[in-house]
């Protein structure tokens, strides 16, 4: 049962897209860290599969519990709007973080980096490893993950504009299953023998793709990059299959979310530039109510030992 302790202890709920994956555990760590720093109690509840319906139910139950605030990494930008409206009616502050919810009932959005920045960094990383151009492929996660699809389309237009010599021949979806990503990637490698590079669009596609390239004996011949956390991709970076991976710091992302929410709960204004303890200066866009963590991070052999 929620403990109503000191008046200034806020209760903040965090609902990830799905529980049981390292990325959101890292965000949870960030939430807990933020909770300690800013005196908030964190409630972590989430679905075991990244299902829109299951997530909506959990968000609703947290709102019904009348927590002070609920933050959600949304499985769909539109499907949680009803919950956001509901939260506003009951005076529960509603925020989205990592993957956003549309509509004006959302009080705060916290973004890891701009979508453009993520997409461009990924493409730039791959292009740097491929000399003279050639065929490339994307391996993504679930076919309807909104942010992955957004990144894919941004990457496509960026490719067309900046790297006309890189030819995108295939986009495949492997769900959130590394094994399936391996399987699909080895099929792509067979279907396109001249393939030069692969981008993994989420944290399960990247190691899967790397494993397939490694098994095919194509390490170094087919470039692999993508979104991934250092723990999962470390083996492949160390053995040279993956030269670089792209992510942001999910711990910081969670931490920042807590900071932003406690600011709102204490009725403190957010400024275009904010000094966040432990993070430095963070930008805020008042029109979209968005806090931006910063630029994506790039992991290479040098900094792959980072642990989160």
């Amino acid at each position: 049962a929620p403990a109503h302790g000191r008046a200034e202890t806020f209760q903040i709920g965090f609902v990830p897209k799905v529980i049981g994956i390292p990325y959101f555990s890292a965000m949870q760590q960030g939430f807990l860290k933020g909770g300690r720093a800013f005196d908030a109690r964190i409630v972590y509840q989430g679905p075991t599969t990244s299902s829109v319906a299951a997530q909506a139910q959990i968000v609703q139950s947290l709102i019904n519990r009348k927590l002070d605030a609920v933050a959600v990494a949304a499985n769909s930008p539109t499907a949680l709007q009803a919950q956001a409206n509901h939260a506003r009616e009951r005076g529960v502050t509603f925020a989205s973080t990592d993957s956003q919810v549309d509509g004006d009932a959302v009080s705060l959005r916290v973004m890891q980096a701009t979508d453009e920045a993520i997409a461009h960094t990924l493409v730039d990383q791959l292009a740097a490893q491929i000399e003279g151009g050639g065929q490339i492929a994307f391996v993504s996660g679930g076919p309807i993950a909104t942010n992955l699809n957004l990144w894919i389309s941004l990457m496509k237009s960026y490719l067309a504009a900046k790297y006309p010599k890189l030819e995108l021949v295939s986009v495949q979806y492997a769900g959130e299953d590394i094994s399936k990503a391996t399987e699909i990637t080895s099929q792509i490698l067979s279907a396109y023998p001249g393939l030069k590079g692969i981008i993994g669009v989420n944290t399960t596609a990247t190691p899967g793709a790397a494993q397939a390239v490694l098994q095919a004996g194509l390490s170094g011949k087919v470039a692999v990059t993508g979104i991934d956390d250092p723990n999962t991709i470390r083996t492949y970076v160390l053995n040279g299959t993956v030269k670089s991976a792209v992510l942001w710091n999910p711990v910081d992302l969670g931490y920042l979310t807590v900071w932003g929410l406690t600011q709102l709960l204490q009725h403190k204004a957010l400024h275009p530039q904010n000094a966040v303890p432990g993070l430095g200066t963070i930008a805020y866009d008042a029109t979209t109510k968005t806090l931006l963590l910063g630029q994506p991070m790039i992991f290479t052999k040098e900094n792959i030992s980072l642990d989160f």
Binding site: I19, T49, E176, Q187, T232
Partner: protein, 339 residues
């Protein structure tokens, strides 16, 4: 007390006793195995003749064989379970749980020689637990295993927390994927061996024949003194062991354990078995069909990528091929019966 109708799926023609077929090849044509073989030949011809020559490459064949082997070994065990009129819907989570247990032992630094048997053993224990609930608790198999499907998954979450297990020995990959015996990667050799042994067991061994008898008519089997309970229980444990082996091979294919590892795997395994012609009502079917069924499912997935079919269409293609191959086959059977 309920006796499932003998000819589940085809009520009416149950009475239409199959007519004697004068020419042997017509009987052969009506077999599911023949239809699957036809699909395999067609798909292979299509991918080889199509503009995309990637099919016969080492990378692709290895990938196809390893992927099929990972399904084939549990499917072999599942064939025994389904033949006795049971079913196990929990194999997906079972695979996840076994992978998690074994993975943690690897991470804890246990030697490979010790952990590998643990995989098989852990699988057998989980299967044994299913058997316990089904046969001692007298819970219908589908109910029990739908239950343990989610219970085992909870087990995965509980013992793994949310960290994936990544530090797995590279030896698994070497053994199951990289090392070859002739053209066959290790996983395929093992799968073929398992299937061959079980096929022979089903065909000529007393106990194998008794499994068929149980699936045909459990009450009658009991009355003629076949130890129904013990044998059915054993099939679940054996399936578990097969799943353990499958889990090992899967870690060879991609050496990471996620909390979701094996999610949805059960459908693929059951699909391969029933596609192979083993009837859910039990008592009819066999290992050759399962082998071909596994191959068809793997092959179609492969062909879809190789033939540059849009990924969203893959489900449609897979579905239509399944319906068409079984539909043509069953249609032929029905026609034979009516004539």
């Amino acid at each position: 007390m309920k006796t499932p109708a003998l000819n589940i799926g085809r009520a009416a023609p149950a009475l239409h006793r199959p007519a004697r077929v004068p020419i042997a090849w017509r009987a052969l044509l009506a077999r599911r195995e023949t239809a699957l073989l036809g699909v395999i030949v067609l798909v292979v011809a299509a991918v080889s003749l199509g503009a995309h020559a990637g099919f016969w490459t080492r990378v692709n064949l290895d990938g196809l064989m390893v992927t099929s082997a990972i399904t084939a070994v549990p499917a072999a065990g599942m064939t025994l379970v389904i033949l006795t009129g049971g079913i196990d819907a929990s194999v997906g989570s079972m695979l996840g749980l076994v992978s998690a247990i074994g993975g943690l032992l690897f991470v804890a630094g246990w030697p490979v020689a010790v952990v590998v048997p643990v995989f098989v053993l852990a699988g057998a224990v989980l299967g044994w637990i299913n058997g316990l609930i089904i046969l001692c608790g007298r819970v219908p198999p589908i109910v029990c295993t739908l239950g343990t499907l989610s219970i085992f998954r909870m087990g995965v979450f509980l013992i793994m927390g949310s960290a994936w297990i990544t530090a797995l020995p590279p030896g698994l990959t070497r053994f199951f994927v990289a090392d070859h015996l002739g053209p066959l990667p290790g996983a395929a050799v093992i799968a073929l061996a398992v299937m061959a042994v079980l096929a022979a067991f089903l065909r000529v061994h007393r106990t194998g024949r008794r499994l068929f008898a149980i699936g045909n008519n459990e009450e009658a089997a009991r009355l003629v003194g076949i130890p129904v309970r013990r044998l059915r229980w054993a099939t679940y444990a054996l399936l578990g062991a097969c799943v353990g082996l499958g889990a090992l091979m899967r870690l060879g294919q991609s050496p990471i354990v996620q909390t979701t590892t094996g999610g949805g795997f059960e459908l693929g395994v059951i699909a391969a078995v029933v596609l192979g012609g083993t009837e859910l009502s039990g008592g009819r079917g066999g290992m050759v069909g399962t082998f071909l069924g596994t191959l068809v499912v793997g092959l179609i997935g492969d062909a879809i990528v190789l033939m540059h079919i849009q990924p969203f269409w893959s489900g449609v293609v897979l579905g239509v091929v399944i319906l068409a191959s079984v539909g043509v086959n069953e249609g032929r059977r029905a026609r034979q019966v009516v004539s």
